[in-house]
Amino acid sequence: MSGFNKVVNSYEEAMAGLEDGMTVIAGGFGLCGIPENLIAQIKKMGTKELTFVSNNCGVDDFGLGILLVDRQIKKMISSYVGENALFEKQLLAGELEVELTPQGTLAEKMRAGGAGIPAFYTATGYGTPVGDGKEVREFNGRKYIMEESITGDFAIVKGWKADTYGNVVYRDTAQNFNPMAATAGKITVVEVEEIVQPGELKPTEIHTPGIYVNRVIKGSFEKRIEQRTVRQG
C-alpha cells in the first residue's frame, strides 16, 4: 500500500512546507511527550513569525523554548508559560504575544478543530478575563462562554509507536495533548520511538488513527525530566 506509507526518512522531509507566519499545533505537557526533534528541525530551518498552540513553551534550552533564541515565535496560545528567562524577557519587551487559554479549553479547542466543530460552550472562564469579549449564553440556568476551535497549518506530535500507515499509540502520560494536536493540523507530522508494520498495533488500542497523519518519522529522544521526584525505594 504505497499510498498509505507515511514514513519519511529525514527531518527535512518531515517539516517540508513549513513557512514563515504559519500556525503550528504542538503536543506535549511540560517537557513530557514533546516532539523534541521536530522542534529542533524548526530551529534549524529558522522559520519565523510562527504561532504555536501548545500547553507550555518548554524551558530555556529544551522544547519550544529553543525557538525563542532567534525569535522564531511571534505568538503562543498556551495555558501555562514562562518556565524560562528568555520567554519573560521577550514578553515584557513586547516581542512575544501570549494568548492564555485554560488547559481544558485548549485541549477541547484542538479536538473541536479536528472534528469540524467551529465552536462550543464552556463554563470555564466565565466571569474571568478569559471570558472578556466572548459571547455569554445561559443553558439550564448557568452561564457559559463560547470558545472557537483551533486548527494549524502543521501539527507536530510525539508518539511512542506508529505503523507505516500512521496509526499511533502513545506511552503513558506522554499522551497528553498529542492525540488532539494530531487531528488539528492541515499537515500532521508524528515522530515516534519505533515504527512497526501495519497489523502489529491492535486496532482497538490505536490512539490516533492514520487518517489524521501525513508523515511519520523515527527519532531518538532525550526525554528530559522537569521535576525529578523520588521516594525512598
Binding site: 485541549a107 484542538m110 470555564t124 503513558d172 521526584t229
Partner: protein, 219 residues
C-alpha cells in the same frame, strides 16, 4: 495557633469519602494524599491525563513519560487509567470529579475565587485551574487567612482577576474552616487556640459566627 501545612492537609483529608475521585492542586493540596484516613480509599486525578496517581517513583522506577500535573515524576496506582488531556478535562468539566482541592489568593462572599494572576507581576497562566473550579461541585480552597501584612484574603469582593465566578463553597485557612453561602462566610471550625475574635478581625467579607465554634483537634 495557626495551622501548619501538615495540619491543613490533615483537616482537608477529613472531607474525603470512600470511593472519591479527587484532584489535588499543587502545593499544600498535594500533601492531603499523605493523610488519607484509615478505611478510606480515594483515587487521585491528575489533569494532564492520569486517573489513579500512585506514589513518587523510586530511582529505578523514574520514567520521563510518567508525570503528574505538577510535572513531577509519578507512578500509576493499581487500576489506574491514562488518557488524553481532552478526556481528562471532559471528566473535570463534566463534573465527574468528587472533590477538588486548590490554593487561592482571595475568595469572596459570593464564592468567587482569584488564584492565577496578580496584575503587574509576570503572568504565567491559569493552567487547569479555571476548568477545575468551573467543573467541580465540591471544591475546598486552602490558603492563609490573611497576608503577611495582615490583609484579609476573605473578601466582600475579590480584588484580583477571577479564576472562577460563584463556584467556591468551602474554604480552609490556617485559622478556620468556613462555608460560603447566601453571600457570607459561615464560620464552622477554628484552629486550635485561635480565637473567634482573631478570625472576625481577619475576615473582611461578611462573616456569620454561630454561638459555638468548635476547635479542630489533631492527633
Amino acid at each position: 495557633m495557626a495551622l501548619s501545612r501538615e495540619q491543613i492537609a490533615q483537616r482537608i483529608a477529613r472531607e474525603l469519602e470512600d470511593g472519591f475521585y479527587v484532584n489535588l492542586g499543587i502545593g499544600i493540596p498535594t500533601l492531603v494524599a499523605n493523610y488519607i484516613p484509615d478505611g478510606i480509599e480515594v483515587m487521585l486525578q491528575s489533569e494532564n491525563g492520569l486517573l489513579g496517581m500512585g506514589p513518587f517513583p523510586t530511582e529505578d522506577e523514574i520514567d520521563a513519560d510518567m508525570i503528574n500535573a505538577g510535572k513531577q515524576t509519578v507512578t500509576a496506582a493499581t487500576g489506574a487509567s491514562i488518557f488524553s488531556s481532552a478526556e481528562s478535562f471532559a471528566m473535570i468539566r463534566g463534573g465527574h470529579v468528587d472533590l477538588t482541592v486548590l490554593g487561592a489568593f482571595e475568595v469572596d462572599v459570593n464564592g468567587n475565587i482569584a488564584s492565577w494572576m496578580i496584575p503587574g507581576k509576570l503572568i504565567k497562566g491559569m493552567g487547569g485551574a479555571m476548568d477545575l473550579v468551573a467543573g467541580a461541585d465540591n471544591i475546598i480552597v486552602t490558603m492563609t487567612h490573611a497576608s503577611k501584612h495582615g490583609e484579609s484574603k476573605l473578601l466582600t469582593n475579590c480584588t484580583l482577576p477571577l479564576t472562577g465566578a460563584g463556584c467556591i463553597k468551602k474554604v480552609l485557612t490556617d485559622l478556620a474552616f468556613l462555608e460560603i453561602k447566601d453571600g457570607a462566610f459561615h464560620l464552622k471550625e477554628r484552629a486550635p487556640g485561635v480565637s473567634v475574635e482573631e478570625i472576625i478581625e481577619k475576615t473582611e467579607g461578611k462573616l456569620i459566627v454561630p454561638d459555638h465554634v468548635p476547635e479542630m483537634t489533631f492527633a
